[in-house]
Amino acid sequence: MSNAFLEMRGITKDFPGVRALDDVSIAVPRGEVRALVGENGAGKSTLIKILSGAYQADRGETWLQGQRIEYNRPLEALELGIVAIYQEFNLVPQLSVAENIMLGQAPRRWGSIDSVEMHRRAGEVLDQLGVQLDIHVSVSELSVAQQQITEIAKALVRDLQILIMDEPTAALTNVEIESLFEVIRTLKGRGVTVLYISHRLKEIFAVADSVTVLKDGKLVDTKPIEEVTRDDVVRMMIGRQLADYYPPKDTATDEVVLRVQNLNWSDSLHDVNLEVRRGEIVGVAGLEGQGQRELVRVIVGAVRRDSGEIYRDGQPIRIESPFDALRARIGFIPDDRKAEGLVLVRPANENIALASLRERLRSFLFVDERRERSFVSKLIEALDIKLAGRSQVVMNLSGGNQQKVVVAKWLGTEPEVLIVSEPTRGIDVGSKSEIHHIMRDLAREGVGILMVSSEMPEILGMSDRIVVMSGGRIVAEMPYEAATEAAIMAAATTDVLVEESANLG
């Protein structure tokens, strides 16, 4: 038994259909900066959510300073000095920096807030952090970095013991990142323990004392930072072989069915160029939030692009709404099936028929019932959807069957291009493999498929060609024969912004 400051032992957490954490143990000494790394879905977020009280572990214990601690709510973790700072800040934009820092802790005099004392103490905390920040200005006027500092200062007022930071540098400039690191070092000097999650390995080597690698919910290893190289860490993160069975890749043709050219949208997409050919599955890889979601939404008309062209079979087309995409025979299977793919309160047959009502199932003004019935039955049979009856409300179906309903809906429209986002997220292994085979069968029939996935095995197993996105750009493209997990991860973790600004400067 170690006498570490923070210890989590044997933490296990199940979500429906997936074990997010499997017997993970970590021990962190006081005042250490511990980096937590792993691919998407490795279990980092789950682990810190358990530590911060947002989730309950199914098994395992958490010890702080030799005491076993138990809590059921984030508030109780806060009282123990465990503070998590996510990308979404927990600040009141209308209030000033000082008011936010002292929120709920403001000194009182004569029953009302002692403003002078409040500002004095808020200023003191910022001094301790060694940062310059006007405490009178309202938080809504601050930059992301300044808000982050305010959040940290707020935590410091409350006897901060453990600070958890989840991708804290995602929206920061290089200079801001450097000053954040200064703050983290200051905190460390004051005995605060920091858990630092980042995909950017460069930062981890700059700021962390030690690194813990997670993979598929399991602990790979914990190492002092001096004992490992960047390559070691990458290897630990991806050291998995392709276990699943994927259908053979033998369907791609040369005929371009979809082409996007110089697509721009807001801050999320920058001059994206992309081609999909008939029978081809193009995988879009990358870390989460690099513009993949925006790319598919622009192509299917869910949001309107700022500039750029979309070509179908070589012809430029106008796509301003999903209705236009449907008419251009472009189907869309979204990643969040409950929020975007299904009408949960309606029966399976209505959901399956939804995108085909107007074009395929209508005669004159009405839905041809006989045609609708055979249409739905054929799809239910083809995809082997398990239903109590065709009119079963989809809310009550399993994740795999719900996903098949969404797939059936788009199969029914006989698309020529299918945009698929996280096609197998949160569904069981059996359904997963079925969906993969359905996708390849579609490709065999000549459908061009663009697949966004954050699961590396899926990208490698399904794609004929892989493009990697980072910072809203396509930073790499490779045929599947040349693609490896390491190559993709290397491209995805390249700090595009860093290199660019270096070039500019």
Binding site: S321, P322, F323, L326, V345, L365, S374, S391, M395
Partner: protein, 326 residues
């Protein structure tokens, strides 16, 4: 794909499992119960004359409830129903008194006015994304003012031919029964058996999913408010025909009553769930309840309390049904 050859292999339409008595919505039991109470408490309740009266008096409720239900199916609400009834009622009575020979034109004018209000509501909800509760409250308030401007106290007169709209009978059966049957049959058919109707359910159940499935959700939203405006106008015209004159406040109870009827009938305020027949049963319950309370000389204030309680009860059921689903 050829569609017809597979028909032989299709499964029979699966029906929800469970006891037939459980599958029938609770609103129909409530309707039977209230009929039984009426029959027991009032010996004259089930006479042909009284049944006919109830049906005719229930007609404007039943018509307005169709529009309200369709709006509620899209997770919206239409509070302008009552004022639209009042406004079209007074326009009809006022103009028909002045220009009795132009009855048809006046009816068309009223329909256009009601449709306009509906379109304003629909544009605001669909394209400006305004909260339906607030926008229909606002347009309703303005329309109510307009009604009072046209006629500040009951007056006006409709033509004798127009009176036959509500008073005419075919043998023993009032025309009104025919209107209701036609509206409900056509309405239900449209809702359940056309791309448009099924799209209404989809938009109400999940607007994002519906949009991403290629449904033009804004047009759907716009249309349901337009329909509600049109049907409220029909209700207002029917009332004008029945009372023979105009009353600028006659529509007052209808917004809340039509909501109560729709929700009693199983429509969920969260959208995507409900049908017209339940709303009809709900409207009949409200009409019968009003008749019964009047027959038993219950003070109108208590009627309000009772109606309020019924709506709260129906909303509670809606809430718990949703809670049970998630």
């Amino acid at each position: 794909m050829s569609e017809t050859t597979i028909a032989a292999g299709t499964q029979p339409r699966a029906r929800p499992k469970g006891n037939i008595f459980l599958r029938i919505g609770p609103v129909y039991y409530a309707l039977v119960t209230i009929l039984a109470i009426g029959t027991i408490s009032q010996p004259t309740f089930l006479t042909l004359r009284s049944v006919r009266n109830i049906l005719v008096s229930a007609t404007p409720w039943s018509i307005a409830t169709i529009g309200q239900t369709v709006v509620i199916l899209t997770a919206g609400i239409d509070l302008s129903v009552g004022p639209v009834i009042s406004m079209t009622n007074v326009i009809a009575a006022d103009l028909m008194k002045k220009y009795p020979e132009q009855a048809i034109l006046i009816i068309l004018l009223c329909l256009a006015a009601g449709l306009m209000v509906g379109i304003v509501n629909g544009l605001a909800v669909a394209y400006l994304r305004l909260n339906p509760f607030i926008i229909t409250l606002a347009t309703g308030t303005a329309v109510q003012g307009l009604a009072l401007e046209i006629m500040y106290q009951p007056s006006g007169m409709v033509t004798s031919g127009f009176r036959q709209v509500s008073r005419g009978t075919l043998g023993p059966i009032p025309y009104a029964v025919g209107y209701l049957l036609i509206l409900y049959l056509v309405g239900s058919y449209i809702l359940k058996r056309t791309p448009y109707g099924l799209s209404i359910y989809a938009v109400g159940g999940n607007e994002t999913s519906a949009r991403l499935s290629g449904i033009r959700t804004k047009r759907i939203l716009l249309s349901v408010y337009a329909i509600s405006g049109l049907l409220a106008t029909c209700a207002g015209l029917f009332i004008a025909s029945r009372i023979g004159s105009g009353d600028p406040l006659v529509g007052e109870p209808y917004a809340l009553d039509s909501i109560t009827a729709a929700v009693l009938g199983g429509a969920s305020l969260f959208g995507g769930v409900g049908d017209l027949w339940g709303g009809l049963a709900g409207a009949l319950i409200i009409a019968i309840l009003s008749t019964l309370l009047n027959m038993n000389n219950i003070n109108p204030f208590y009627q309000w309390i009772i109606k309020g309680a019924i709506l709260i009860g129906a909303l509670a059921i809606d809430f718990f049904r949703k809670g049970g689903r998630q």
